[in-house]
Structures are given as structure tokens and as C-alpha cells.
């Protein structure tokens, strides 16, 4: 019972802290649906490396904690900030300014990660969002029909 109460309190606190008038928000279920769209929003986790590694949303990327050190690619598009009550309101505002100035349409995940979890949606280990091809030496195949002949080696 107690963990459930703590979870509910955490969701409410996050919802209150992240609910700034004028900041567009997106509900967890709605975001979950958007992730299956052909062009889903870019999910930026701004809670810091520790929290990110402990578990984040599918497709979310670690954007660091410093909006001043963040340089977008300039292509704009929708961005959803993954936050929680550890991110101060001023820092959140700075993130929104930084991304809005770079022509992004910015949304905040309503209730943060706690609300996402409370909605029964999955968190993933951060490494699942990254690939590490080429870290092991491999051979570039010449094609399916090459048999067992060696092709070119690539590091």
C-alpha cells in the first residue's frame, strides 16, 4: 500500500511542478500512441545521465542537463521533454526557450516519468535506444553467394 501511495504522491507532485501555464503538455498515453507514428516526436530526456541510465522511455535520448550546451540540428519538429520533479522550473523554462528558438515545437511529458510509469507504460534500459555497430571487427560480405571465401575486413 505504501509504495502505491508514494507513487501517487510522486505523480501528483510532478504534475504540479511541471504544470506551468502556457507550457504545452502531452499525456503519457497520447505520447505512447505518437511513438508508433511514421514521424514521431523527438524524445529528449533532460534528467541527467544517472536517471536516464536507470530507465527511460522507449526512443528517448539523453540530452544532458544543460540547455546552454545543447545544439539541435536546426531541422525543427516536435520535441517532448522527459522530465521529473528533479528538474527545476527555471531549467525547464531554459530548455523550452532553447528548443523553441531552434524552431522546435516543444511539449512536456505530463507528470514526467512517474506518470508514464503509473499509466502502465514501459521504461527501457537506455542502451536499448542506441546501437553500437562496428565495435567488433567484422568482414564486409561480398554477397550471400560468396560461400566461405573471405571478403574485406573492416574495423
Amino acid at each position: 500500500m505504501r509504495p502505491l501511495l508514494l507513487l501517487v504522491a510522486s505523480v501528483l507532485l510532478s504534475a504540479i511542478l511541471l504544470a506551468e501555464p502556457g507550457w504545452p503538455q502531452i499525456a503519457p498515453r497520447q505520447l505512447s500512441r505518437l511513438l508508433h507514428e511514421p514521424v514521431p516526436p523527438l524524445l529528449l530526456d533532460i534528467r541527467g545521465r544517472g536517471a536516464y541510465l536507470a530507465g527511460t522511455l522507449p526512443q528517448a535520448l539523453n540530452a544532458g542537463t544543460d540547455p546552454a550546451g545543447f545544439l539541435p540540428d536546426g531541422r525543427g519538429g516536435d520535441v517532448v521533454l522527459i522530465s521529473d520533479d528533479s528538474v527545476e522550473r527555471e531549467r525547464l523554462a531554459a530548455w523550452i526557450r532553447r528548443l523553441t528558438n531552434a524552431h522546435h515545437r516543444v511539449f512536456i511529458l505530463q507528470g514526467g516519468v512517474a506518470a508514464w510509469r503509473a499509466a502502465g507504460l514501459p521504461l527501457v534500459q537506455a542502451e536499448q535506444n542506441y546501437v553500437r555497430p562496428g565495435t567488433v571487427p567484422f568482414i564486409i560480405p561480398r554477397g550471400l553467394c560468396e560461400g566461405d571465401e573471405p571478403a574485406q575486413e573492416y574495423r
Binding site: 508508433h36 550546451g69 562496428g134 567484422f138 560480405p141 553467394c145
Partner: protein
């Protein structure tokens, strides 16, 4: 009173049997007989890459190197002609042939060793949405068309994959994060092992000197023990790469490029058919 049977009546079953035998034979014989009644379909298929799968320069070059060249023909020309023929997919049973079961009929070759096109399709949003292989690969002029489109058709690769990127600071380091998302209904690249998608991130300093050149290959890789590893880009979800930029290099300009290659070999090997899927430039402060 029964009507006397005419010669035509008596010959009818024989004619039908003869015609069916002819269809069966020709369907497995390069589709020549099929074209008599299905000229539009035959003409369209004749333009497809599948119809000449065993005579392309890339295939013949690869096959010349193959340890067991006969294996190649099981998919490239099962009937021994220039490529795939009508009967190879439609079967050699009595005409009319039953409707094809997708994607099972495609899987025989497109899930061959070193290819996971159909398997990855079964785990894709496209499959979940009820799409079939032919919805993307056999459409033209608003309907089903036997001119099967593939990556070589050109228009399928247009806007097929998108790059996103950002830089961020972490302590005294700068990290580049690059994501690749594609809209194919199966793993990219589809097709066999020689094809690959290459991501290249290069960086130049203020004087234009190259200070960074990193490349990643997405496709089928083999390790030194000869085992195949699937490193294709999965459908329906992005993949991301995080790259720390060398701090002493003084990089001021990043170029990120995504290339689809048909020819095997490293990125520098010439490939006249290679397509740049996306490219972006980022100026660092």
C-alpha cells in the same frame, strides 16, 4: 433423346486439357505462355528486377566468386532462365493458380540465409497495420502491378530514411547524438548481404582540415569465424549513435551522411547506384 455430340463437343475436354498442360508448361518456362492471356502482367513483370535476377552484372560477378554457384540460382532463377518466372511464385499446379499467400510466397527467397526482409516485416508497424508486401512493392497507376518496385527503382528510396542529430555538453566533453529512422516496412537494407546503409560522420576544423571520419555499416556482417550478424536497421523504431567528439581536434563543422549502397565492400568502393538517403551539416559554436 440425346443430342448427337459434335466434333467440337467431343474434342472440347481434350482441347481444355491440352491448354492446361500448355499453361502449366509455359508458366514454369519463363512465363512465355502466360503472356498470351496476361500480356499486361507479363509486360510489367518483364521490366522488374526479378525477371532478370540472374543476369545482372552484380549478380554474375558475385556468382563467379561463389563457392557453390548453384545455390544462388535457387532464388535468382529457379527455372534456369534469366531470372524469376511466373511459375516460380504462382506454382505449377493446374490453372487457374490459387491466390498467393503473402508474405509466405516472398519469404522463400527474401528470408534466405543472410536476409531477413520478411522476418523483420512480421515485426513491423506495417504488418501490424495490415499492409502486405505488394502494397508497397507491386503498385503502380493506382493498382496492383507486376512491375515489382525495389530499392533500385529509385522512388522507393526517396525520403526513405531521415537523420536527426544534436550535440550536447557533458563535463568538458562534447557528444554528438545521431539517430536514423526509416520508413520501410522491413529491415533496411532489405535484400541480400551485399547491400548496406552507411552512416558517416566527418568533422573539419576552422581551416577546413578533416579532423574526424567515422563510419558505421548497417547490414549483414560476418565475423572472423564466418558467422553472420544482423546489423540492419529495424523497422518502426529509430536507432541512435552517440559519438564523443575529440576535444583537441578543434572541430567546427560536422557533416553527417547516410548512404544506401548496393555493392558490397567499404564505403569508398565505387557504387554507381549508391543513393544518399540524407545529409546534414552542423556548425559548431
Amino acid at each position: 433423346m440425346s443430342r448427337p455430340r459434335s466434333i467440337a463437343d467431343r474434342a472440347g475436354p481434350a482441347i481444355v486439357a491440352l491448354a492446361l498442360a500448355s499453361l502449366q508448361a509455359t508458366a514454369a518456362d519463363g512465363g512465355k505462355g502466360c503472356a498470351d492471356c496476361h500480356p499486361r502482367q507479363a509486360a510489367a513483370f518483364e521490366r522488374s528486377a526479378m525477371a532478370r535476377a540472374a543476369v545482372t552484372p552484380a549478380f554474375t560477378a558475385e556468382r563467379a566468386d561463389a563457392a557453390d554457384p548453384r545455390r544462388c540460382l535457387r532464388c535468382h532463377a529457379p527455372g534456369g532462365g534469366r531470372g524469376v518466372a511466373c511459375g516460380d511464385c504462382h506454382g505449377s499446379g493446374p490453372h487457374p493458380f490459387p491466390p498467393l499467400e503473402q508474405p509466405a510466397v516472398c519469404a522463400r527467397c527474401h528470408d534466405a540465409p543472410g536476409e531477413n526482409t520478411v522476418r523483420s516485416f512480421l515485426d513491423s508497424p506495417a504488418f501490424a497495420a495490415g499492409l502486405r508486401c505488394s502494397d508497397c512493392h507491386a503498385v503502380a497507376d493506382g493498382g496492383f502491378n507486376h512491375h515489382f518496385r525495389g530499392a533500385r527503382s529509385g522512388d522507393l528510396l526517396r525520403d526513405a530514411a531521415t537523420l536527426r542529430a544534436f550535440l550536447r555538453s557533458e563535463g568538458d566533453r562534447t557528444l554528438a547524438t545521431v539517430t536514423i529512422r526509416h520508413r520501410a516496412g522491413h529491415a533496411m537494407p532489405g535484400g541480400t548481404t551485399g547491400r548496406a546503409v552507411w552512416l558517416r560522420i566527418s568533422g573539419r576544423d576552422e581551416g577546413g582540415r578533416e579532423r574526424l571520419d567515422r563510419r558505421w555499416r548497417f547490414g549483414w556482417n560476418r565475423d572472423r569465424e564466418g558467422r553472420w550478424h544482423d546489423r540492419t536497421l529495424p523497422p518502426g523504431r529509430p536507432v541512435a549513435i552517440e559519438l564523443p567528439l575529440p576535444s583537441a581536434a578543434g572541430i567546427r563543422h560536422l557533416t553527417i551522411e547516410l548512404t544506401y549502397r548496393f555493392r558490397p565492400g567499404p564505403l569508398d568502393t565505387p557504387d554507381p547506384d549508391a543513393v544518399i538517403l540524407d545529409r546534414m551539416e552542423i556548425e559548431l559554436p
